[in-house]
Amino acid sequence: MAEKGSRAKALAGGTDVLVQLRAKRYLIDRLVDIKKIPEMNELTCTEQAGLVLGAAVPCCLIYENQDVSRLYPGLIDSAFLIGGIQIQGRASIGGNLCNAAPSADAIPTLIALEATCNIVGPKGKRTIAVEDFCTGPGQNVLKDGELLVSIHLPPPKRNSGAHYLRFIPRNEMDIAVAGVGASVVLSNGKIESARLALASVAPTPVFATKAAATLVGKEANEEAVLEAAEEAKKAAKPISDMRGTIEQRIHLVGVLTKRALNKAIARAKGAE
């Protein structure tokens, strides 16, 4: 891959890259199937070390894994939303991240869960936070010859919960008009910390730090959630396109932030 530089691409599930190649979105000389590299298929999940998710692990193996389902229900929300069953049999969370679509259903969740990217390239290894990975629509920080090997999720904190949801006009199999990933940590009924990230409302997924900051130290109640939702709307910088207008998307961010936070709080309190 290093030899071919920007004329090389990695193939994991292929559900984005093969479509883009066929549409001639870019021209390449080499497509490298990474699925036989052991590190790319790692799926190790423990309460002590967290989750190491190889970049090529398909969504179906994530939501069928009992440990991941128990410890990271927020991630399961995303894995179960991407495409239909046929797509989930192939598509990976790592691929969803590398594809860097503003509408990616996994990226807000990964940001909410404080995930980091393990990258390997000709110059060695590096680790960066998921919120720093996407640089534009379809663009990411990977340099020529570099590969995303795995994603690491830290162990879930005590009394924490996360949720991702999106709005689409159909029930399944569609691209988010807007999406919100949220995580909270509770302590004696108060919100100790929170993270929020938005999909489909900017050129990259948005890490809505100001909105999350409004929650810190507050009682986990409706008032706090509504204030964060209002602040999240200010972080959204959407465009109008065939999927939705600016006004609709900003409105959706408010509604979805409220719902994502309510569910994350419920999960932190021990609900499913």
Binding site: T15, L31, D33, G83, G84, I85, Q86, I87, R90, N171
Partner: protein
Amino acid sequence: MSLKIHVRTTVNGEETEFLCEGRQSLLEALRDILGLTGTKEGCNDGNCGACTINLDGRIVDSCLVLAAEAEGKTILTIEGVASIDGLHPLQQSFLEQAALQCGICTPGFIVAAKALLEQEPDADEHRIRHWLAGNLCRCTGYDKIIRAVLDAGAVVRGAK
């Protein structure tokens, strides 16, 4: 011009080999190289599910798999669904419930539904509709398809 790739795979229970180009999809290989034209091409970008096959126990859109990736894998296509004893319960119930009109989507629906019924023969309507969300039908309005799968489920679990 690159060299062709030699692929060995098992298709519908038979060991098979073929030569393909690196750029070719598994859908193309099945239809154009192996002559298995039961698997249909609809959108060719992973939206419609007409090209659904079973690859190592998972349903996938064969348009989104490269033919070369089939090396060493086990494939089931619509041609492998019926047995020497006759039609699969799903095929029979699709006929009885008139769950098809033009028929282009039918092989994909049957291969997808078969994978569900093998794991969950008692899948309810909601579960079936969710499982088949990746298969589009522009004729039937889906109700007859769902009824056919529910009916076949009853046959598979011996309740009918």
